[in-house]
Amino acid sequence: MSTEEPRAVDPATPRPRDVATAVPVDPATAVLERFASVTAHVTDNRQPYLLVPAALIVDVTRFVRDHVDIRADALMSLSGLDLLKWPGAKKGEFPFSDLVMTYHLFSYRHARRLTLKVQVPRTAASVPTVTAIWPVAGQFEREIFDLYGVDFPGHPDLRRIMMPDDWVGHPLRKDYAYPTGYGGVVLKRDGQHFDDGPYADPALPKPAKPAAGGAA
């Protein structure tokens, strides 16, 4: 990036919220009219979202970014979720063992939010990348690939971001088994056991009292 060329002043600086931003079209309605297989849902605590099939996510996101009344120009957050231990999942809309990506979008122009969700099965988790729509998605998708194991075909540089490259497993999944060692170091030190909590190892004997000793 050359520092000699002057940058043009951006004429489209968003205005703060106190200026009226009433738009005639509701973003969710516009998306539902345009894409037949997108469905509108509400969470248990009445937060609306649109459920998008994985194959359509690129088209839907391009639509919401470019539509003049929606202008979702920012991807606020892209988070993963593992539904393996969700209570009552059989009664809900998601199959029991899916992973869910949640796209929280925001429009600086119109100061309004939009939430999209994509569900994928955990054994063949693959969602097309939206890096072409918002470049920031590259970072978020790498993190989800690392911690949930979702593949993003088309991503320019999909590799682990938080864990070392030779780490095995995807840690944020609900069925992740904590490793017993890494780099020659055993991960339960000096006889301590994780004898309670959701990730207890049932094979280890429970000590009578917490193991003392070792350093501070």
């Binding site: 990036m1 050359s2 520092t3 000699e4 002057p6 940058r7 002043v9 951006d10 489209a12 600086t13 968003p14 205005r15 703060p16 919220r17 969470t43 248990d44 605590n45 009445r46 937060q47 120009d73 920012a74 991807l75 606020m76 957050s77 988070s79 993963g80 979720l81 593992d82 231990k85 969700w86 209570p87 949640t102 929280h104 600086y108 100061a111 939010r113 939430t115 918002w134 470049p135 920031v136 590259g138 970072q139 993190e143 911690l147 682990r160 971001i161 938080m162 864990m163 070392p164 840690p171 944020l172 609900k174 909590g197 959701p198 990730y199």
Partner: protein, 397 residues
């Protein structure tokens, strides 16, 4: 020297800048391809401080997670606490039957400590950026002022750095007797100190020319690459979560939002490193303004604030409701010194969260490195990292 000259002539070296490096603001590793002077590519290597805080969030109670939010961004720990607690309260707020009501004095105290911590965080940010560019003295001035803030916090909650003070439903203790006078005195001293600071570094020609035009980010790029907070405002986007989606008592307070506007003059551009630096300095002054308003408007502790007794006071009331938030999810964001910090909370109705996702400003700030740092000098890498105010615990969580 242009980018083409680097790639065709000479040998390219691959250097590892970090993870232990005096100027990378923590354990950030950058893999720099350079010919010795001009950089052709920078790849960040993250994860050296990945402490699996999001996984821990699925193992502890909702309220037990508050100390971990301190560690997410320890430079502004009060703001981090505040972000999580307001998100949990917003989750409760989706069901009117179990909404958590924070006392008004509690809200004012939250804003007080949040703005104090914004000041101390920005002092670290601008001080560290100056130190990385070779000016050691402004950093020490900032650290000295930060000590006063630490004293106030220590007398309030007992800790100097990781406070665990803002909690779901309010704050854990009321302010100590004399806190308002201490804060007022700190505001006056800091204003005098900022004049000296600005004379020392902000208006310093060498510093300004070093930062001018370096790492220029336009408004569309900043929005597309997910920059938030002072980094976004330095590029001219006038967006502040405190104004756009007010929380707490920010809607009753009057303050301006500084926006970058090519402060460097002829050698700079809108959205360069100097703009981001000056936006932070101006935000310190705005925070002083907010502090003064809070001190004036804050209600005195009265009969409406029940004593903070865990058995009979307001803490007991909160304990009755905070055990089980309604089933569902929410995305709530607040304005931290490093930009918006968003919490995507998913609750399954039990007292242990189902998923806590923390979206931080530094994570997306690092995402722009590879795009931004091409064809620049090695010394400019340090300028850009400092101006984007990257702290590694926020990236890695």
């Amino acid at each position: 020297m242009t980018l083409e000259a680097v790639t065709t002539s000479g040998d390219l070296m691959r250097l590892s800048m970090g993870p232990q490096h005096p100027s990378t603001h923590g354990v950030l590793r950058l893999i720099v391809d350079t010919d010795g002077e001009v950089v052709s590519r920078v790849q960040p290597d993250l994860g050296f401080l990945h402490r699996s805080i999001e996984k821990i969030g699925e193992c502890v109670d909702w309220v037990q997670f508050v100390p971990y939010t301190d560690r997410v961004d320890y430079v502004c720990a009060m703001n981090s606490n505040h972000a999580y607690c307001t998100a949990v309260e917003a989750l409760f707020g989706t069901d009117p039957a179990c909404a958590v009501k924070v006392p008004l004095r509690g809200e004012y105290i939250r804003v007080l400590v949040a703005e104090l911590n914004r000041i101390s965080s920005h002092l670290v940010a601008v001080g560290a950026m100056s130190m990385d560019l070779g000016a050691y003295t402004p950093f020490l001035h900032g650290i000295a002022q930060r000590e006063t803030v630490n004293d106030i916090f220590e007398k309030t909650c007992g800790a100097r750095l990781t406070y665990n003070y803002v909690t779901v439903g309010g704050v854990t203790h009321d302010l100590y007797v004399g806190a308002e006078d201490d804060i007022a005195r700190f505001c006056t001293e800091l204003e005098r100190e900022m004049l000296r600071f600005n004379r020392l570094i902000t208006t310093n020609t060498i510093f300004r020319d070093r930062c001018a035009g370096v790492g220029t980010i336009s408004a569309e790029e900043a929005i597309g690459w997910g920059l938030v907070g002072p980094s976004l405002r330095g590029s001219g986007v006038a967006f502040d979560v405190r104004k756009a989606e007010p929380y707490g008592v920010y809607d009753r307070l009057t303050f301006d939002v500084p926006v970058g506007d090519n402060f460097a003059g002829s050698r700079g551009a809108k959205g360069d490193s100097y703009d981001r630096f000056v936006v932070r300095v101006l935000e310190i002054l705005e925070s002083i303004r907010i502090l003064r308003q809070c001190l004036k408007d804050m209600p005195k502790p009265g009969p409406q604030d029940k004593p903070a007794d865990p058995d009979t006071g307001w803490q007991a009331e909160v304990k009755k409701v905070i055990l089980r938030p309604p089933k569902g999810e929410i995305y709530h964001r607040v304005e931290n010194p490093r930009g918006e910090t968003g919490y995507h909370l998913v609750s399954d109705g039990t007292k242990i969260p189902y998923r806590i996702k923390i979206r931080t400003g530094s994570f997306t700030g690092v995402g722009i490195f590879e795009h931004l740092m091409r064809g620049i000098m090695i010394a400019d890498i340090v300028t850009i990292i400092g101006s984007l105010d990257i702290v590694v615990p926020e990236i890695d969580r």
